[in-house]
């Protein structure tokens, strides 16, 4: 059953899909995280725009640690360590952030009297200014891939896929 020679085409496709999902999500997290981690002040300013946190040390803590946390999660996914947990953290970061970006875009749309998809701003994602519809589509895709990794039937080509599994 576990002999690679006997793997079905479906199993192979599934494994390839899972590996690609890890590569895409993990790679993006590393790239986006590093671009923010090397410019923490710019990320701090962007975080402040959302007006979510007023307490200075909390705002600083989020801006200082979140980029490195993203890099960490990305590396876990790429190397195949604690894959399901890292994917769950990815969902936990992406879901609320996507709602925040969407709300911010609605504010900018109202202020500028623009079509929704014409709203373009730096959301603090690490890729500079982006069009909101493209960003929402990207986040939707990343969310789906992350959810797939949480519930993937099996994980291969991983260093230590599920360290806490008994």
């Amino acid at each position: 059953m576990n002999d690679p020679v006997n793997w079905s085409w479906g199993e192979r496709s599934q494994d390839l899909g899972t590996w690609l999902a890890r590569a895409v999500v993990g790679g993006l997290y590393v790239f986006m995280g590093l671009s923010k981690a090397f410019q923490p002040v710019e990320f701090l300013k962007l975080m402040r725009q959302y007006g979510l946190v007023e307490t200075p040390w909390v705002l600083n803590l989020v801006a200082a640690t979140l980029p490195w946390f993203e890099v960490f999660c990305g590396l876990l996914l790429l190397t195949g360590i604690a894959v399901r947990g890292a994917a769950l953290m990815s969902v936990a970061m992406l879901a609320p952030f996507t709602v925040l970006v969407w709300q911010r875009a609605l504010q900018l749309q109202a202020a500028g009297q623009l079509p929704f998809c014409a709203v373009r701003f730096d959301c603090g994602c690490g890729a500079g200014e982006v069009f909101i519809c493209a960003k929402l589509a990207e986040n939707g895709l990343l969310l789906m891939l992350s959810l797939w990794l949480v519930f993937a039937p099996r994980l291969r080509a991983c260093l230590w896929p599920e360290p806490f599994r008994r």
Binding site: V5, E54, P56, G85, R154
Partner: protein, 223 residues
Amino acid sequence: MSGSAEPVVEPRSSVPAPQLQALLLEAAAIAAVGLTLGLIANGVSPRGLVLSRDYFPPTPVQGREARALPSGDRQTAPGAATAKDRVLVRLAELGLPAVDFAGARALFEDPRHAQELIVFVDARNDAAYTAGHIPGAYQFDRYYPERFFPTVLPVCDTAELVVVYCTGGDCEDSEFAARALLHAGVARERLRVFAAGMDEWRRHGMPVEVGPRGSGDFRPQPP
């Protein structure tokens, strides 16, 4: 049975309770380790943030806005002034005179500028500063005061006028930088803020100095 040394995770159709527990434990461990690593990385990074520092101390105007408007509406509330107007109002409340482009140009061309009795201070980051600044301007990225104060403060102390600027538009860094200089002991009456900033400077085709201060690489900007 298996002829491969590769670890294999058995297929599963759902997430039963023990697996769910393991998943949550895994996520919690990642959160703890990731947060710790983030704190360490921030601590050792030369660009790291000082967690205890208030990088955006509120002005009296901002305080009133915060009480009047729900969070998130401060940039876009109907009837609110433009970002530039708000900066000018805050500067007035702080007693920090603003200069427009004509004023900044007059100060730049004043002979006292060459004698460093009029000093321009650029409040932007390294990348923006080296990409082009007002010729002779000193950099003061106010997020890293300990790095820039040793150079900037002695110059500001001996200058008759200190003109602080940043990008312009809704950029607040010149305002915060001027407040930092004020708190560091630079007399209020010697401080000016060129709120329209580098955008306006370039728009009028004024020369910029590329690279570090004193590079000699002056480039006229196409108007």
